[in-house]
Every structure is written in structure tokens, then in C-alpha cells.
């Protein structure tokens, strides 16, 4: 497989992806228009609302609403710039923090002004990202808000918004049940804005008017494609066009895994024609989530992929909610049995039944993500499911479903090395 690259769709004038290699320092960032005065406070909340900026962490929640919810509450407020990228198939947040730390800091400071917060936490687990942000902060002085890097243990659930708040409050980085949400009660019990770092990276352009457009997002493209990497992509083009134009597919894909591990599978034919749009994807029973797209090729069996992903959910859930630790284990068991050719119609009926009864029964979205995998395997690949009910699958026969695999994990070091350490080595 070729080394991953960074790039942009041909129709895009990149705002987030840089044209050159290396890590952007303060002077480079300021030359590109960074840290310039712009809208702040309520004016910025209004501008973000009008720009219809939606959260890039996975939930696509309108940032203007979130800003307004925190700003409207009495007393002190806190901002958490969430860079804990728990989704194994996504690399964008680590790339941003490692490569463009000033863009994220600038965005977080503007969010702090919008919600009148005087404390910002940059919440990460990637050590190279933490070093990059600390090095960037050392280049700055006299900030309008205190900015602190907060390092957490990595984990699938550690980037969930209440897990971030719990970690900063000195508890394990595991989700809480809602309500309260962080905007009501967050860090030190204060109203807290938790926002993904890519979302925040859109704020400087909106605040200064330099780049009010929010029409692109960062896509981690991986799996069976000719050129995996991190790409800036316009919303609205089809999944097929994006995958073909970004290095090519090298054959018709069997399917796509959407939004990290969260938004489920699409079969190749249907996925090809769907637009990269939060609402259309949701209406089609899929999602953009964190923006990652993993291509399943001829060597990938959808049933085997689903079994591996469900095994991951069964292993990596936080072990808190009974419906989740039981439900993910049960679905993983049936999916592995199906892939290995031991499942029958009663098992498939149980899988269908869990897909109906389990969504929404966890404190966070982990159980829903697992259900999305099971539900979309059944919906998008009925012929493959059927074939596994009738006999052994040659591709799955060689797979160890009990192995601790992290399928299609992105490789941040291959996309952007630990640039701070490299610079220090040069010095």
C-alpha cells in the first residue's frame, strides 16, 4: 500500500490542508492571516450560526447553538478543544494538532471569546499532538484566556464530550449519562463548551471574514483505495466522486465504512452515488460522522469486517452500561458465528431484534455505533449474509475473530511525523 498523503479535492481551494510539508509556526500562521482581530462575543456567535458551521467530531451538531447555550448561562465558563481522536480510522485531529497547532489555538481562543470563557483546555491523548500545542503556546504570550494542554489516556470513548469533562475533573475518561450535558455542568461544574478541534479550526476564518465558507471538511480516506490519506473535500459531491478523484479506487469497491467505526457500512453501488452531506447521509441510514471513509475492496468480506468491528466495540466499550457491554458482546458473538459459517436464521433474527431494541440504551453513542455496524451489514449486504448462512466463506475462514485487531486503523505517523521532535533534533 502506498504511503498516505495530504491533499485536497481538485475543486477545493484548501483552507485547512497546507500546500507544503512541515509544521506551521506562529509566523507562518500569521502570514496566512492568523490571529487577526475579528468578530468576538455575541457577534461571533451570530456569525457562526449564519455560517451554519456543524461539529466535525461526529455528531454534526450546529456550533452556533452550542456556543449560544454556554454563553447564555450565568457565571464563569470553560472551553475544551477536543482533540482526543478515539476513532481508529480517523487521523484529521492529530494531523491538525501536529501540523497546524496555531489554527486550533486561534479557533479555541475565539470560541472562548464567544462564550466568555477565561480557561481553555486542549484535550488530547496523542503525545506528539500535545508537544506540538505546547510548542505553539510557548511561541505566544499575553493570551486573552489561559490555555492548558490536558493529556488523557487514549481510548475509543475518551473523546466523548462527558468523558473529556470527567478526565479534566480528575475522574476516568469515561462517559456520563445525560443530562446534565457539559453546557449545563462541565469542567469544575461550570458551563463548558466541548468542541472538536477541526470545528474550532473553522472559527478564525468566520471571525475575520477572510474565509466565511464552511463548505469543506477533512476526510481520512483509507482501506482499499489507490492513495490513502487526509484530504480536504467539499460537501455535496458524491462518495464515489470523492474516492475516485482522490487517487482512485482501482476497481469497483465492495463497500464503504463510514465515520470512523461509527456510522456503519454502505454497499459499493449505493454508497457510490450518495452525496457527502450530513442530512442526506443520515436520511439514508448512514452518516459522515468524523469524516473518515474506509473503502472495502475485493479482499474484504463485509461479514468478516462487521465481525471484527463488533469485536472491537465489545472490547473497547467503557464497561459501564449493561445494555452496552452485554449488547456489544452478544452482537459480536453472532457476527463472528455468521462469518465463520456457524450461524443460522435464529441468530440472524436475534441480530435484527437487537438492532431494534438496543439503540439509545447507553449513556453514550458506543452501543449505537455497534448497532449501526450490525444493522447496515444486514441491510446493505443481504446476499453476503445469506451466503454465510449457507456455507463457509473462504475469506473469513482465514480470519481470527478473537484477535485484538483494530481494522483499518489510520497511521498518523505516516501522514505527519512528530514534527516537534524532528525540529528539536535539527536544533
Amino acid at each position: 500500500m502506498p504511503a498516505p498523503v495530504t491533499g485536497a479535492h481538485p475543486a477545493v481551494r484548501p483552507r485547512l490542508i497546507l500546500d507544503g510539508p512541515g509544521r506551521e509556526g506562529r509566523a507562518d500562521y500569521e502570514r496566512r492571516g492568523g490571529y487577526r482581530p475579528g468578530l468576538d462575543g455575541q457577534d461571533l456567535v451570530t456569525a457562526v450560526t449564519e455560517a451554519e458551521l456543524r461539529g466535525r467530531g461526529g455528531a454534526a451538531f450546529p456550533l452556533g447553538v452550542k456556543l449560544g447555550a454556554v454563553a447564555g448561562r450565568a457565571g464563569e465558563h470553560v472551553v475544551v478543544a477536543n482533540g482526543e481522536e478515539g476513532e481508529p480510522a480517523s487521523v484529521k485531529d492529530r494531523w491538525l494538532l501536529r501540523t497546524r497547532p496555531h489554527l486550533v489555538i486561534d479557533g479555541a481562543l475565539r470560541a472562548a471569546s464567544a462564550v466568555a470563557a477565561d480557561t481553555v483546555y486542549v484535550y488530547v491523548s496523542d503525545p506528539a499532538a500535545a508537544r506540538s500545542v505546547r510548542a505553539a503556546l510557548a511561541e505566544l504570550g499575553g493570551l486573552p484566556a489561559g490555555v492548558e494542554v490536558w493529556e488523557a489516556e487514549p481510548g475509543y470513548v475518551a473523546g466523548e464530550e462527558t468523558a473529556a469533562v470527567n478526565a479534566i475533573n480528575g475522574r476516568p475518561a469515561k462517559p456520563s449519562d445525560k443530562p446534565p450535558r457539559p453546557f449545563e455542568e462541565g469542567v469544575r461544574g461550570l458551563p463548558t463548551l466541548v468542541s472538536n478541534v477541526e470545528t474550532l479550526a473553522n472559527l478564525p476564518g468566520i471571525a475575520t471574514g477572510a474565509d466565511p465558507g464552511t463548505g469543506t471538511f477533512l476526510m481520512t480516506l483509507g482501506g482499499a483505495c489507490a492513495q490513502p490519506g487526509l484530504y480536504e473535500v467539499p460537501f455535496g459531491i458524491t462518495l464515489g466522486e470523492a474516492a475516485e478523484s482522490l487517487g482512485g479506487l482501482g476497481g469497483a469497491p465492495r463497500g464503504y465504512l463510514m465515520g470512523g467505526y461509527f456510522a456503519g457500512l454502505l454497499n459499493g453501488r449505493r454508497g457510490h452515488g450518495l452525496p457527502l452531506d450530513y442530512d442526506v447521509m443520515a436520511a439514508e441510514g448512514s452518516g459522515l460522522g468524523c469524516g473518515s471513509v474506509t473503502v472495502l475492496g475485493p479482499a474484504d468480506c463485509p461479514a468478516g469486517v462487521a465481525a471484527q468491528l463488533l469485536a472491537y466495540f465489545a472490547r473497547e466499550n467503557s464497561g459501564q452500561c449493561g445494555s452496552c457491554f452485554n449488547g456489544t458482546a452478544a452482537m459480536a458473538g453472532v457476527a463472528a458465528a455468521l462469518a465463520q459459517g456457524f450461524a443460522g436464521d435464529p441468530e440472524i433474527e436475534r441480530l435484527h431484534s437487537w438492532c431494534q431494541s438496543l439503540p439509545g440504551r447507553g449513556a453514550c453513542g458506543t452501543l449505537d455505533g455497534a448497532v449501526n455496524i450490525a444493522r447496515t451489514l444486514l441491510r446493505e449486504f443481504p446476499a453476503d449474509v445469506d451466503a454465510h448462512l449457507r456455507g463457509r466463506c473462504a475469506r473469513c475462514a482465514g480470519t481470527d475473530f478473537a484477535a485484538l485487531t483494530v481494522p483499518f486503523a489510520a497511521a498518523p505517523d505516516a501522514i505527519t511525523p512528530d514534527l516537534v521532535n524532528t525540529e528539536e533534533a535539527v536544533l
Binding site: 469515561k174 462517559p175 456520563s176 449519562d177 443530562p179 459501564q320 452500561c321 449493561g322 445494555s323 452485554n326 449488547g327 431494541s357 438496543l358 439509545g360 440504551r361 447507553g362 449513556a363
Partner: protein, 65 residues
């Protein structure tokens, strides 16, 4: 009365669904979620209050309306 279940606390005792089966739904392993709105109708409030007091792990919380 307005309630929530903290699903991270629930240990699947199922007392809540015995007292107020229309308010609390159990999954097939016995773990509870709210079956309907967190706003409890007045006529169900006595049963929900018993469920709240009977929950061995205090997973049911009364919220400010």
C-alpha cells in the same frame, strides 16, 4: 416529577420495572432505560417514587423540573 436513569449505575436489579413497567423498560439482560418521557405523569408518580427508593444502586435520580 422529572427523572433520569443513570445507566452507568444500573446493575439490572429490575425493581423499577416491577413498580412502574410503563415508565421503565428492561433490556433482555435486565438493564433499565426510560421507556418514555422523563416527565412522569401525576398518576404514576407514587409508583415511580417507590421505584426510586427501591433501586439498590440509586440509579434513578429526580431532576429539577
Amino acid at each position: 416529577m422529572k427523572i433520569k436513569i443513570d445507566r452507568t449505575m444500573c446493575d439490572g436489579f429490575g425493581k423499577c420495572a416491577e413498580h412502574a413497567p410503563t415508565v421503565f423498560s428492561l433490556d433482555e439482560w435486565g438493564y433499565a432505560s426510560l421507556a418514555a418521557s422523563p416527565d412522569v405523569p401525576d398518576e404514576l408518580e407514587p409508583a415511580v417514587r417507590r421505584a426510586l427508593l427501591d433501586c439498590p444502586v440509586d440509579a434513578i435520580v429526580e431532576r429539577q423540573a
